[in-house]
């Protein structure tokens, strides 16, 4: 497999040749080194690679970066996971608190996912209100969780009408290397699988809830939603798992959320951009299914690694 340096050399060889073909006569003969070309013509830089069937980081068009999942990084949280996809790093913590249920649903608990894209993860984000990407990914994750019945919220009931669990799922992006949506959602499901709640009891007389120190109760998760994102370059070229260098130049992106256990799809998000034909959508979904199985395996491996030794990190 060509590494980034080989690909850059290939790119620069192509760039040199083409730089001499454009406008400037042969006698002027200037050429740009790849780093400069990448800065001043970024879309053209990526186009040169894609015309050869590879991408700037050396991957083929349909190749995904490996998802590395580790559980239990945050010992104070009820559940936590860290996910790395290439350079993209996100960390997710699940915190369970007790709250009063809504009067119209006295036995239902709450699941509140939230993605944060802080200034430290990328130069494009400044301190202030959450960026639109963070809010839209949070909303999509919330819609997927609710509509696929990931967790029956009645299992979060402590005492009907008085006390229920609320699970605050906080996902923080530490490094934005592209495709934060996938990393965030994989971290979410990994952290939920890792989550353990303490046993809780409601004491009517004192109107309080007492919880045990040990956390032993896992969540009853009905599905394993795995996200898979593709980008489209120049309206026609479908690429898998875009990096942060490719993302600004994409015509559109599409995210499939697939259930690793059954053959169901749990979500599709194409938030606009150029049109995609029906067979492209169906074909992309098939590739997505293969990727979802690979990620699900990595997730099971991470879970077994954690449960294998209680003393280990």
């Amino acid at each position: 497999m060509a590494g980034p340096k080989d690909a850059a050399k290939a790119g620069s060889a192509v760039a040199d040749q083409s730089a001499m073909d454009i406008d400037a006569p042969a006698s002027a003969g200037f050429s740009l080194d790849p780093e400069t070309f990448k800065k001043i013509h970024p879309a053209e830089y990526h186009r040169r690679f894609l015309s050869q069937g590879v991408r700037a980081d050396g991957r083929t068009l349909k190749k995904f970066r490996k998802a590395q999942i580790s559980l239990g990084s945050i010992s104070t949280a009820n559940g936590s996971a860290m996910v790395r996809i290439g350079d993209t790093t996100v960390i997710c913590g699940v915190k369970a608190e007790v709250t009063e249920p809504k009067p119209e649903a006295p036995k239902s608990g709450f699941i509140v996912p939230n993605l944060d894209l802080p200034p430290l993860c990328s130069p494009q984000y400044r301190p202030g209100p959450p960026p639109e990407l963070a809010q839209t990914i949070s909303e999509f994750m919330d819609q997927v969780i609710k509509s696929c019945d990931l967790l029956d919220t009645q299992t979060l009931c402590i005492e009907a009408g008085h006390a229920v669990w609320v699970l605050y799922i906080d996902i923080v992006c530490l490094n934005h290397g592209g495709n934060v949506a996938d990393a965030a959602m994989i971290a979410l499901i990994a952290a939920l699988k890792h989550t353990r709640l303490p046993k809780a009891r409601f004491y009517d007389v004192e109107s309080t809830v007492r919880v045990t120190d040990e956390r032993t109760m896992p969540l009853d998760l009905k599905r394993t939603p795995i996200p898979v994102t593709f980008g489209v370059f120049d309206n026609t070229i479908l690429i898998a798992d875009p990096t942060s260098e490719e993302e600004p130049h994409l015509s559109t992106q599409i995210t499939f959320v697939l259930d690793a256990e059954t053959h169901d799809s749990l979500g599709v998000l194409k938030p606009g951009g150029t049109a995609l034909a029906r067979d492209v959508l169906v074909g992309a979904c098939k590739s997505a299914r293969e990727r979802a199985l690979v990620v699900a395996e990595a997730l099971s491996a991470a879970i077994s690694a954690t449960t294998a030794g209680p003393g280990r990190p």
């Binding site: 909303e139 509509s147 696929c148 799809s265 979500g267 998000l269 194409k270 606009g272 995609l276 034909a277």
Partner: protein, 212 residues
Amino acid sequence: MRPFHCSAALLSRSDGSVRFKSGSSAVLCSVFGPIEVKIRDEKLDKATVEVVFKCASGQSTTTERLYERIVRETLEASILTALHPRTLIRITLQVLTDDGGILSTALNAAILALVDAGIPLRSLPAAVTCMMDREGVLFLDPTTVEVEGSQSSHVFVFDDAGEGTLANVSTGAFTMDEYTNCYDQCLSAAATLQSLFRSSIEGKVVREYGPI
């Protein structure tokens, strides 16, 4: 699909405005553009498209942000932004009543408002919502009550140049067969919508300017 109704040129200050009603869901859309853009948002070779989505009541939440993003990215692909560089096209959507399918109602209102404003478009897209209930029955353009019994819910926006799907939001649990079935049903519903849009726009032009 529920019977729909649209009325145009309602607001005197807007460049274009449309109230689109699908059954009991109604959205008012106002378009200003091309207008002056802040230097920070200026694009040298294209118009900047800005969408503001206001729900009927209550504070704006992440749901409205997701709708704004979907409407904006869909319309950016349809508007010929290269014809108006360094300008702003602001699309404001106000939900009047929400009885299900609010995203597709809003998109349809926005598309017609852009035509009313005279903003050049690549094509005339149309948005359709559908759902599958737990028995596997497909409902086109469901109401809020019908959506409560849904197993999966799908919003599709189709390009009328026959090029495919501009936007899609699907949630719930569904198989690929159900998805392609919803796709095909929504595609034919969108074709009907597009021909009705065209005839209503032609009617308006004939009334204002005489026969074509």
